[in-house]
Subunit: 394 residues, 2 copies
């Protein structure tokens, strides 16, 4: 009676969500304070005060039926204009409000864009390790996900990327600052990526789209994050306010298409069509308005930096090998034993919930989401040290 | 480069959305007060005060990172429990929190449920006239929409419905109070519908699901609205708070599955999988909490009733033939000329924006959404009278 593929997707939850639910169950059993849950990228610092102030102001100033009413499917015109202006001013790309589409967050941005682009037989290339839901979203849109491995420092490996691109490639998905590694792609590699995509587009006689998945743009620890659109015209940005403004549960983001993207107008129409087909109707109205006032802002990145520094220092001192995150709030740590899944099971015995890298498409690492109260990190350190003692000698 | 089907869906907007955008353009040209826009079902009365009070209380009492953080994919456990309890108490159906899934509104409820149910070749039956997006949603899920015409009073025509059901039928979609007719299905016809579905399920050896699309449940003018689940176990309710609480832009609703539905547990898993595949992640967190406190409430139905009464009386006095709405906020009026599209074009000359019934799957009627300020109705009456003079004699 039921779509088996959907049943499978719903029964076998993502490893991350599974750990999150396990963590909730453990918290009920032994107390929240005794579980060191590093599974989920759920922001731990509050939204900027401006979010609360804007909500209060809007409740005060706008009639409720206006505030909470339908917006145009692509979003409120003034919100779309504000996003376009912000992109112009911050990144120097002349995006117009006409190709900005407000969405219910990053996942919606991706699924809508993928459905808009995907034709039968299309391939989409992601750089591994990568966000595991890319595969679910690409397959949901009828496409095939191809993986190109990042280099040893988890930056772009252009040779691997070139090898993954075929005549069927519709788009390449990049994510910087990166989940799960915290790496930020620099100007040189984006320039080289653009050249590769131009050459491959010419070779196959069809434009390859660059999908820039950017929920972590504002969360950096000093690194500049070049704007992919500034390097390659066939780019669509999938943005979310979830992480930057600590609004992950409110589901608000946008798609922005470069004005010189091939068939920009047609692609925007297809985005509108996909949003309609998937049942999105419009992005949440209150938070469209709130976010338009908070463009470019972020919640307290300093708190994440403190967490990063403490965790990185302690873990490396304990003998673990870690990638120093330049952005996002994930620390990618090498598993001392080859089997990262087994390592995460050993970690669970110390109530440490870590995500094995297998779920991100490579073996031998774990992701530690350090978007948690600093206190949790401080109290988890003895457990990490014990885990090091048990595993680094193995 | 682009999915043509999505481009077509996005370029050729729904007739209703098209009229809404036309109305906005006319409002800019001649002033909002001179446009009588009866196109969209956008609630005109404010949300109950409790909505604003709850938002204020939550902002005050919950840490922002908790309030705005991710919830479980199916929704906050306490919200799902509250919905289940409400259904138990109000309708006497022992729905459990385990089969309640919070969504981003009615369209999301429908697309997620349809993707969860639909297998290759499946047919879904809708009663025409019906919400035009059913076709978009069913086809997006890979199914085929079959239409069964309502009877002359726009109630269920069981013979027509029986004729539309085949061995490929996966589900029948009912919507009461109905968009676009305002009709409410009574106990006798739901009982007869249940018998038909039981017989047909037995005949074809597979359960036919009843999808109850219920965004207008609380908007009635005295009529009782029987709960479809109480008549037929293989029922899933697609609910939305958009209309009842005047929160159409906030995208919040739920799917509830009858505990005795065939494969209820597997269907719920498939609902979770479909939500994941479509990119929904979770329903908006703030409004999950707000709506849990407003279950069964509605905004001021009295205002809609005044509108209904004034419009119905004036239009029938002017010679138009109308269905008296028992619920929702739509008046279904017979076009005095056979071609309702042409009639709506004539109406536009008087700045009256009406939706031709062709978009709902039948000819010869128009839908008038009377969820507008009463003042707009009062000022539109001369235009309706002129239109009657021009068309009833034709």
């Amino acid at each position: 009676m039921i779509n088996e593929n959907m049943q499978r997707l719903g029964s076998k939850r993502s490893v991350i969500r599974e750990l999150f639910e396990y963590g909730n169950a453990r918290a009920e059993a032994i107390g929240r304070e005794n579980v060191f849950d590093f599974s989920l990228g759920n922001p731990s610092v509050p939204a900027p005060d401006l979010v609360r102030e804007e909500i209060a102001r809007l409740l005060e100033e706008l009639p409720a039926q206006t505030l909470h009413g339908y917006t145009s499917a692509a979003g409120l015109p003034e919100v779309r204009a504000a996003v376009a202006e912000y992109i112009n001013a911050a990144f120097g790309v002349p995006v117009s409000a006409d190709t900005v589409y407000m969405t219910c967050g990053a996942a919606a941005s991706l699924t809508i864009l993928l459905h808009a682009l995907c034709e039968a037989g299309d391939e989409f290339v992601a750089i591994t390790p990568c966000f595991p839901e890319y595969k679910v979203f690409v397959e949901g849109a009828g496409g095939v996900l191809k993986e190109a491995r990042a280099d040893e420092a988890f930056h772009l490996d252009l040779a691997a990327l070139e090898a993954a691109i075929t005549s069927q490639t519709k788009a390449v998905i990049v994510n910087s600052p990166n989940n799960p590694t915290g790496v930020v792609y620099d100007e040189a590699e984006l320039t080289a990526l653009a050249t590769l995509l131009q050459n491959k587009s010419a070779e196959y006689g069809r434009p390859i789209v660059l999908i820039a998945d950017e929920p972590y743009r504002e969360l950096t620890y000093g690194a500049q994050v070049p704007y992919p659109m500034a390097y390659y015209a066939n780019t669509a940005v999938c943005y979310s306010f979830s992480k930057s403004l600590s609004l992950a549960g409110e589901r608000i983001g946008y798609i922005a298409i470069h004005p010189d993207c091939a068939q920009a107008k047609e692609l925007f129409a297809a985005v509108c069509g996909a949003g309609r087909s998937l049942g999105y109707v419009c992005a949440p109205a209150l938070f469209q308005r709130v976010c338009a006032k908070c463009l470019g802002q972020s919640s307290d990145v300093g708190a994440y930096k403190e967490n990063r520094d403490l965790l990185y220092r302690t873990l490396t001192e304990a003998g673990f090998e870690c990638v120093l995150p330049e952005g996002a709030f994930y620390l990618f740590m090498k598993s001392p034993i080859p089997d990262a899944v087994k390592f995460c099971e050993l970690a669970k015995k110390h109530e440490l919930l870590l995500v094995p890298s297998d779920t991100f498409g490579i073996e031998g690492y774990v992701r530690i989401s350090y978007c948690v109260e600093k206190d949790i990190i401080v109290r988890s350190l003895p457990a990490f040290r014990k885990l090091a003692g048990e595993t680094i000698l193995l």
